[in-house]
């Protein structure tokens, strides 16, 4: 005697993940899910994909998909199966990742995740079970509910005015570039089941061959929520539902596509060090800067575009290379939008507490608003260096030692006004005694790779350095 029908080996023999009644499914009598599960299981078994398959279950009637399939499984939050499947698929490049979703899950709350997974062409197959109703929650309106169809939230029938038109997901997905397969099948009649078997097999083969994203919409009957007898529900799909949602393969470009491999590798530290551009350690960790005091707090301020933030970074970077403790903090708030930028740099011998600066030891003000704002905060022994090229009036409430530096003019002489920050760097380095001219030049050589830029900045730094002597 030949067996013509048996439980697929891809199913559990006994549904041990189910808390009770482990020989029957949780689906209602006449529901299409069971038929679809059977087709998927048969094809997984036939293609020998069971061990590779990972199921992502939705929230909805498919929530317990993991009861039945003897494969690694994960249950996603409502609507998020395609996003979870993205993480699963990327982490398991050799898997056949199946996202099994209903119409509330995929076409309403999770549309964004579903469409974007499709658009990225993730290696996954999505089964979109369209029974045009919310089953699990009690027969509410779905985006796929037909016009005039009643539900528990459209008791007098769906209207275009209130609810819009039924969403045609398979067509929407087919309109995207990335998906390899988009099709609609039904599981209401033997004829439709035979067609569904072919399409589902095709979709799984695409996964086996790593050719990308496959989307299969499955029209399924829901006698419970449609309030129809099983036979009547199956007939209704042919007579009514298929008019709105025509069955067929809408897009299949698998034969033209190559396998797509996405990496998920682990690397040794050496590869990371290489990627980060780490070089070998400098053995000498002694602090090499002679400081005026234990901690110097710099405020650099000016217009956006004057290189204020990078000036601060240069100071911090150079100090760090001399093994000093440093912090660099950019300004925040409306000033950034108003075109005034500032940053705070602290250079110290010991661990630095607050990186914010209330009264700077050194203020560099490249424009007038900066000088007016921060100048009065500098204490008597502090330095105020202002850009005399742009500031003709010095506030009379300054306490610190004030130096006029024509930074913009000197930068312009060096080649570009953009090098005003380099002029300041030269000036500050000499004035504070923190760096030698050769330190600055070495630093610029490491920083600027383009010869013309390097040339200009070397000139600018030198101009600032020389200006510091004159004062």
């Amino acid at each position: 005697m030949t067996k013509v029908f048996e439980k697929s080996p891809a199913f559990f023999d006994t549904f041990t993940r189910k808390p009770s009644m482990q020989k029957t499914t949780h689906y209602c009598p006449g529901c299409g899910h069971g038929t679809l599960n059977k087709i998927i299981a048969d094809q997984i078994a036939e293609l020998g994909l069971q061990d590779q398959t990972i199921f992502v279950g939705p929230v909805g009637c498919g929530v317990f998909i993991y009861y039945y399939f003897e494969s690694a499984s994960v249950s996603a939050a409502h609507g998020r199966a395609s996003a979870v499947a993205t993480g699963v698929s990327r982490a398991n490049p050799d898997s056949v990742t199946i996202s099994y979703q209903g119409d509330g899950d995929l076409a309403a709350i999770g549309t964004s995740n579903a469409i974007h997974a499709a658009n990225r062409g993730e290696n996954m197959i999505v089964f979109f079970v369209n029974n045009n109703i919310y089953g699990m929650t009690g027969g509410q309106l779905a985006p796929t509910t037909l016009i005039d169809q009643t539900s528990t939230t459209s008791p007098t029938g769906r209207t275009v005015l209130n609810d819009g038109h039924p969403l045609k997901m398979a067509e929407m997905v087919a309109g995207l570039e990335a998906p390899v397969l988009s099709a609609r099948v039904a599981v209401n009649t033997p004829r439709n089941v035979r067609q569904a078997v072919k399409v589902i097999k095709r979709g799984l083969e695409i996964q086996r061959d790593k050719k990308g994203y496959a989307f299969i919409e499955v029209l399924s009957q829901c006698p419970t929520n449609w309030k129809k007898e099983s036979k009547e529900a199956c007939d209704w799909i042919d007579e009514v539902v298929c008019k709105q949602y025509p069955i067929g393969v809408i897009k299949d470009v698998a034969d033209q596509r190559e396998a797509q491999i996405r990496l998920a590798e682990r690397v040794e530290f050496e590869a990371l060090a290489d990627q980060l551009g780490l070089t070998t350690d400098d053995e000498d960790t002694s602090q090499k800067i002679e400081m005026l005091q234990d901690e110097l707090r710099f405020k650099f301020a000016g217009f956006g575009g004057q290189g204020i933030l990078s000036l601060g970074m240069m100071m911090a970077q150079m100090s760090m290379e001399q093994n000093m403790e440093v912090t660099w903090l950019p300004s925040y708030g409306p000033e950034m939008r108003g075109g005034v930028a500032n940053c705070s740099v602290v250079v110290g011998k010991k661990a630095i507490g607050s990186p914010a600066i209330e009264s700077p030891n050194v203020l560099v003000a490249l424009n007038r608003p900066s000088l007016e704002k921060f100048g009065p905060l500098v204490p008597e022994e502090g330095l105020i260096i202002y850009n005399s090229s742009l500031i003709d009036q010095v506030p009379d409430n300054l306490k610190g030692q004030v130096y006029a530096l024509p930074a913009t003019d000197l930068a312009s002489d060096a080649g570009t006004v953009k090098a005003a920050n380099a002029v300041v760097l030269g000036f500050v380095a000499r004035k504070t005694g923190m760096f030698q001219l050769s330190d600055l030049e070495n630093f610029l050589r490491e920083t600027f790779k383009k010869p013309a830029m390097l040339e200009t900045n070397l000139k600018a730094v030198l101009a600032g350095w020389n200006a510091a002597e004159k004062d």
């Binding site: 069971q50 590779q52 929530v63 249950s75 998020r80 993205t86 974007h116 990496l263 440093v326 914010a356």
Partner: protein, 351 residues
């Protein structure tokens, strides 16, 4: 080797040193440099980087990757963390290890992109639905951000739990040197993870337990784990006088500023001690109970109108704990904090 980086970059470098396999995220100021840095390094190293379509997508991709046993992370700021919260509840429910960075900005609503510490309740007290906890690390410098992002992956694996790194706009944007070198990390075996082997066919990652008794057992198991975490992982930095006139407390950037305040008070002849929690959940209550003697006033400072202070008060029942907060993106000035401390010391003397 030392490298001058922003806090937001330090997170990524730490993650890579810890062997993080995948990054899923969505851009938001002031956390975006994390995504920039991750995109720069993950893909060239053959690792996964995806800019998700939304925060919700990102956290659920994290869910998928964590289910598969990867070391995985995401990062965002307040508004984005709000969106991720549902996913974080699922991660906690399914006991999935992952690392989530919140670079706090100003709220509620769109707020602004300045620093605040007003996501404390959201991040430390749950945020998502259900009776769960997540480990929360609170660094106070770029170097500590780097170290904690390495540690976070080990903690996540060890406890099968989401781990937060809670920073803020200041810590994320500021640059400091970090010392990058190979460190030993402890990646757990994950026999429960989704895989493509026959042995993993029976693996199921879920947070659903239909049977009430099963669910109660699951929740009780989670809480037995939480009790162990509380016992073992609470951490705080204590700095300053052994017998203080005042105890200052704050976490993250505020805690760091208070370190300077301790020094300044010392110059004025006031002995102060700082307690800076490095873990916010579990909260280092024992440290408070050990350090704070009866009658010694406590000044709790945060960039919020009073969230963190609740845990300080819960740790010190009946004690005089004063809150001082700045909001809106403003950092307090050190002078302002010194003044608050002096006032409190004076009040305590008068009592």
């Amino acid at each position: 080797m030392k490298k001058l980086v922003k806090g937001n970059e330090a997170v990524v470098i730490g993650a890579l040193v810890a062997g993080c396999d995948a990054y899923y995220g969505y851009p938001i100021t002031p956390a975006s440099e994390i995504a920039h840095s991750a995109s720069e390094h993950f893909l060239p190293l053959g690792k996964v980087f995806v800019q998700a379509e939304c925060e919700v997508g990102a956290i659920n991709m994290v869910f998928g990757a964590a289910s598969s046993g990867q070391r995985v992370m995401t990062a965002s700021s307040g508004p984005g963390i709000s969106l991720k919260m549902e996913g974080i509840s699922y991660l906690a429910g399914a006991q999935l290890p992952c690392v989530i960075v919140d670079v706090q900005r100003v709220g509620p609503g769109l707020g602004n992109i300045g620093p605040e510490q007003s996501d404390y309740f959201q991040v430390v007290k749950g945020g998502g639905h259900g009776d769960y906890r997540a480990i929360v690390l609170a660094p106070a410098s770029v170097e500590e951000t780097y170290k904690m992002s390495i540690e976070a992956f080990d903690l996540a694996d060890k406890w099968r739990s989401p781990v937060f790194i809670l920073t803020d706009a200041t810590l994320g944007q500021m640059m400091e040197p970090i010392d990058i070198r190979e460190v030993e990390t402890h990646r757990s075996e994950k026999p429960w993870a989704l895989d493509t082997k026959q042995e993993s066919n029976d693996n199921l990652v879920t947070s659903i337990y239909l049977d009430f008794d099963d669910m109660e057992e699951h929740i009780n198991n989670l809480h037995a784990k939480y009790a162990e975490i509380t016992e073992q992982e609470a951490k705080a930095e204590v700095y300053g006088a052994d017998v203080p006139d005042i105890v200052l407390t704050g976490y993250g950037i505020t805690g760091r500023m208070l370190r300077s305040v301790v020094d300044k008070l010392n110059e004025c002849g006031i002995d102060a001690t700082l307690i800076r929690p490095q873990t916010l959940w579990p909260f280092p209550s024992k440290t408070y109970q050990e350090v704070v003697k009866p009658g010694v006033p406590v000044l709790s400072v945060e960039l919020s109108r009073g969230q963190f202070v609740e845990d300080v008060r819960l740790s010190l029942p009946g004690h005089n704990v004063k809150h001082y907060g700045r909001v809106g993106g403003n950092l307090p000035e050190l002078g302002e904090l010194v003044e608050q401390a002096e006032k409190l010391v004076q009040e305590a003397k008068n009592d």
